[in-house]
């Protein structure tokens, strides 16, 4: 047991767990076909097998939310995955050779990529390859790389001056070995926090892109698009906006809490302080 369970970790874990569970279950079962249009069920009130009612197309809101969870996770996992897989090694490399040309090059390219925010990339990519979930994910992922690289670099710089790394270097260990044995484990908690923040941001970015029409293609359910579609009914049937809005908010909240909780749980620095206190 490395740390203590905390409330944030618990709540975050439960919220994220619900999203993951909904997404997994949706592969095998949803109460109704989430994309089946049925004029007879148009704007059906909740109840009678339609837990949260139906939208203007007569599609079951609950089923849509379940499959929407899948979209949300796709976007988050792929975007954060791209960012972490590219950004972390770059940041570490830059951090381990702080005065070298490599570091300089990485950070300059990083700054350049950083200058292309997710939306700009998504619009540009969407214009070339067509808007869709994939282009949105790639755009969000690439735009998040600099954040990961920066955080990884900053954390690596700190780790590189610690005694154990100095000792390892003095002992003649090679850089890759130091990177894996000492740097990566010690910047892990920082990266987890970054991943959680980025995951949450990715979910929000997907929603924003869907709002602008650059996100997930219809009729694939996505919480962002559900929100966008419900706009014209905001005044007469607010529940259509309420549920996807709530789903986005709770999922983002869940990932943020989970990240915070994990940091408290894993971070040796915090552990020391707690032991002292």
């Amino acid at each position: 047991m490395r740390g203590r369970m905390n409330a944030g970790l618990l709540v975050g874990g439960v919220l994220v767990g619900i999203v993951v569970l909904a997404a997994l279950v949706s592969f095998f079962w949803t109460p109704h076909d989430p994309t089946l249009v049925d004029a007879a069920r148009k704007l059906r009130e909740p109840g009678g097998g339609y837990l949260l009612g139906a939208d203007k197309f007569g599609r079951d809101t609950f089923s849509q939310l379940m499959v929407g969870a899948r979209t949300t996770l796709y976007v988050g996992i792929v975007a954060v995955g791209i960012a972490a897989v590219i950004g972390t090694p770059l940041g570490m490399a830059a951090g381990m050779t702080p005065r070298g040309w490599l570091s300089e090059l990485i950070m300059r390219v990083n700054d350049l990529v950083f200058a292309f925010p997710a939306l700009l990339l998504a619009v540009m990519l969407g214009a070339v390859y067509g808007a869709g979930t994939l282009t949105a994910m790639i755009a969000i992922g690439v735009a998040t790389v600099p954040a990961f690289a920066r955080v990884a670099r900053a954390a690596t710089l700190q780790v590189m001056v610690t005694d154990y790394v100095l000792a390892a270097r003095a002992a003649g260990r090679r850089r890759p070995a130091i990177a894996f044995r000492h740097v990566l484990p010690n910047i892990g908690s920082v990266l987890i926090v970054q991943a959680s923040v980025s995951f949450a941001i990715a979910i929000l970015a997907e929603a924003a892109l869907s709002f602008l029409g650059f996100g997930t293609r219809p009729p694939t359910p996505s919480w962002g698009r559900m929100l966008q579609e419900s706009q014209e009914l905001l005044f007469s049937t607010p529940r259509l906006a309420l549920w996807p809005g709530l789903a986005i908010a709770l999922a983002v909240l869940g990932f943020n809490l989970l990240g915070d909780g994990l940091r408290d749980f894993l971070d040796p620095k915090l552990r020391r302080i707690r032991a002292e206190g």
Binding site: R108, L119, V123, I201, A208, A241, G245
Partner: protein, 312 residues
């Protein structure tokens, strides 16, 4: 420091130049010939060829790039293929609007986040701190456009207190200008403020655990005094970095908020340009946005160096 400044400035110029190449190259990838697009689907081939000559798009890409980049240096963004209006002044107008929008949102975010985040850090063990933390978590979790829609619903549609959208130039009517920007600022500022509160809180929490704060107390300062005198400047270093990162996020947020509140800013110009295939315009807007972010980056780096003597 001077050396650093010179070096950093050189990097800024070099990255801007590279960015210009990237932007130009990317635009070249966009499907569609500007001349064909300008003339529409029913244009005659001769007319297209003629227009191509007029636009200069029949020349080699390198020549086109040099021409464009050369114009940029003189503040000339070219003339739109679609609207036949000069692009520079349009971007200038829109940039002003977006800058006001983003800066206002940012200032609001800072005004919200610094006191709240600090307070939440100082009181991180009691209920009030927890309430602020929870509120900021919720604030982060709400998409900016949803916040905007809700603000419109409450303040414009229900209360009829503020306009639901639109933009009035300050030269036309300063009071209306302010009124028209209040809701957009709020929807950017509240969401970004929530994000920033979290960072401020964690930065302050970090410095609160620093030994030099204990030293300051050992000198005879109270914990609040020590935090003010020694903590906040140290905490501002990570926060400044986050602010820089956030400005880019705000540019994203601004595009969406411009759509919700019908504000004629750069994002709106960009989306219009993309929809109308006004390539030169899109190229110009993207270039300006990218250059703006690079400049922000530069300013953040310099600020970082000014704040932290260890980097000098």
């Amino acid at each position: 420091m001077t050396l650093y400044l010179v070096k950093r400035l050189a990097v800024l110029l070099a990255s801007t130049a590279v960015a210009a190449v990237v932007v130009f190259a990317f635009m070249a990838l966009l499907p569609g010939d500007p001349a064909e697009i300008a003339l529409g689907v029913n244009a005659t081939p001769e007319a297209v060829a003629e227009l191509r000559r007029q636009f200069g798009t029949d020349r080699a890409p390198v020549a086109q790039f040099l021409d464009w980049a050369g114009g940029l240096l003189q503040g000339d963004f070219g003339t739109s293929y679609v609207t036949s209006a000069p692009i520079g002044p349009q971007i200038g107008d829109r940039l002003g609007v977006t800058a006001v929008l983003v800066l206002g949102g940012m200032i609001l975010a800072v005004v919200i986040a610094v006191p709240l985040g600090t307070f939440a850090a100082v009181h991180h063990r009691n209920a009030l701190g927890a309430v602020i933390s929870a509120a900021s978590q919720l604030g982060i979790a709400i998409p900016a456009f949803l916040a905007g829609i809700l603000l419109v619903f409450v303040f414009a549609v229900q209360a009829q207190a503020l306009p639901s959208g639109g933009y009035v130039p300050i030269s036309e009517n300063p009071a209306e200008w302010l009124r028209s920007l209040l809701l957009p600022w709020l929807s950017l500022g509240l969401v970004q403020g929530a994000v920033l509160t979290r960072y401020v809180r964690s930065a302050v929490l970090d410095v609160m655990r620093e030994d030099y704060l204990r030293t300051a107390r050992a000198k005879g300062r109270g914990s609040t005094g020590a935090l003010w005198r020694h903590g906040l400047r140290n905490a501002s270093i990570p926060v400044v970095t986050v602010l820089g990162l956030q400005l880019a996020t705000l540019l994203i947020g601004a595009v969406v908020v411009e759509r919700v509140f019908v504000v004629p800013g750069l994002g709106d110009l960009l989306l219009n340009g993309v929809a109308q295939r006004d390539l030169l315009l899109v190229q110009g807007v993207v270039m300006v946005l990218v250059a703006a972010v690079l400049l922000i980056n530069f300013v953040v780096d310099v600020a970082y160096h000014l704040l932290d003597p260890r980097l000098r």
